[in-house]
Amino acid sequence: MFDGILIVLQPLNFFWLVVGVGSGIVVGAIPGLSGAMLIALTLPMTYYMGNIEAIILLIGMYVGSITGGLITAILFSIPGTPSSIVSTFDGYPMTLSGKAGRALGLGVLSSFVGGVISWAFLAALFGPMTSIALRFSSFDYFAMVLIGLALISTVSRGSTIKGLIGAGLGMLAAMPGIDPTSGQLRFQFGSSDMLNGFATLPTLVGVFAVAIVLEAIFRNDHAISSNANWSQKVEISFHDLARHWKNLLRSSVVGTWIGVLPGLGGNVGSIIAYAFARNSSKTPEKFGKGCEDGIVASEAANNATVGGALVPLVAMGIPGSVIDAILIGALMIHNLSPGPLLYRNAPDVIDALIASALLGHVVMLFIMWFGTRYIARLVSVPRHYLFPVILVFCVVGVFSSSNIAFDLWVMLGFAVVGLFFSATGVPLGPFVIGYILAPIAETNLRSGLMATGGAITPMFTHPLTLGLLSVSVVVLLWPFVSNVRQVRRAEERP
């Protein structure tokens, strides 16, 4: 662990951490842009960096983007990222009553504490979980993937059916190319360019960067005019740690465990932590009207999901969130196979990753403390200058990583797919997680069946596998069961 901290504190690596956190905060603060988009856009640029530098940069962006959303959430009631939606409930009313600096200070401090507590869980858990994961059978991995797909499909915005369709289409998008088990070429559609299928980078950039820019243009997003009245500094007081310690601890633990569950992310963590905080408050009626506890709960939880989501990523190679799915893409680009053996094969990379999750939050604290008033002005950059530049970086980034013109058309094709999903209400998260997890699911299912000579019964007789499969079935069926109960209750009412 200390080795990792020493690695990150090396001058060049620390520089990349600061760049990552800073750019993540700026992008997270701009509504319509997201951390997923920034990380997807940066992936091609990291191709020419060392493994450790690339991971430090991307983790810095992850931390920064989760936090940056609170700036516009509190100042303008427009969440910069989905994970800051809940911060608008109480943050903006505080701004309206002249307490913007206080609200931002609480948000920043809570984000820091949430991130540090989840880092402690990450540092403590990844070792034991890696040991457990090494004992997982192929069928266990297959079942874990099913849980991830089921979770992301049921909790993403929109209906469960559409989430499942998105996940299924993502899995199909990963199938063309070389079959991972037999080496057979499949689904080339008669084109030699499809020998390797739809490459990871252009797919992710197309869906997360280009499609989101096009969607923002479609929604006619305009730049936010800067709040000329806000000239206060961010008021951070460490006395708040004592005043809000219960809420901070509870929300951080909630966020960490939500992050651990494959497929969920900061927005789910912040919603659940906010609900807990309101239910356990002596003055729940104050929530939604400028209550400090609301901001503390939301921001502590959403940053805590960062460390939590990294636990399954580091231990098992299964993404804890959509951004983690993109981070898996980053590992693969740098010839690092995600999974429990990663720590054995590249311990310095994992140490640096874990240390970045901690030091990233320290850097975030300082940047937000002193830089928020300037970042708030950056947010008002006109979209008609910003979006075309982002599109150019998408094109340059995708081409520079592979030198294949076909990848640019793949990127545009998936941008159309992303736009179509947006128009029809299909969430992007399941699609991306389905795309990333499909090879893992298929390989493990087929390996398991090879090991058992084609017998599928061990999947239902081995306790762990049966337990994991049962969880995925429950998660999938719960929304439908809940609907049936609602209809029955509505019918029973006079």
Binding site: M45, Y48, I161, K162, L164, I165, G168, L169, L172, M175, D179, T181, S182, R186, F187, F189, V210, L214, I217, F218, R219, N220, P382, H384, Y385, F387, P388, V389, L391, V392, V395, V396, F399, S400, N403, A405, L408, W409, L412, A415, L419, F420, A423, T424, G425, V426, A438, E442, L445, R446, L449, M450, G453, F480, N483, V484, Q486, V487, R488, E491
Partner: protein
Amino acid sequence: MTSPIWKAKMISSRSPLADIALAIATIVIAGIFIGLSLDLPPPEYEPLGPASVPVGVALCCDGLSIFLLVRASRELQRTHGVAPLVPAREIPGRLILKTSAVLLWTGLYVASMTIVRIPFVWSTAVYLTALSWMLSGFRPKSLLVSAAIALIVAFGCEYVFTHIFTTNLP
């Protein structure tokens, strides 16, 4: 058809036309994968082979899409076919046109470099200037600023990527 289970499943679709479009697209895509899977060889050394998992996923997608199609069709029947494409919101035609124009212009930008072989700097400068100006609503004042930003980004990218990262540009 009147049991709570069926009623719960048939929670009304809020955007039936979009659901129908999604269902049809998914059925077509899944059908293509199933069709292409028929040409794959049968399994030799393992039970499943290269076709089984794609076919399984495609069939699941088809099943979900058929459910979505039935639900959306019932909603359309219920509302006598007057459900909006997107609930509670009209989409101005100009926004659809603008988004399509951006996509087309980006496609032309990619084609200009990869097919016509126009150098990166000039393709990018023209692309950025025209796109920024279009997104600003063709305001005369923003044309100069767009052009200036375009030249800085085009030449800047070329220098950074070819001299610092030493990579190829389109």
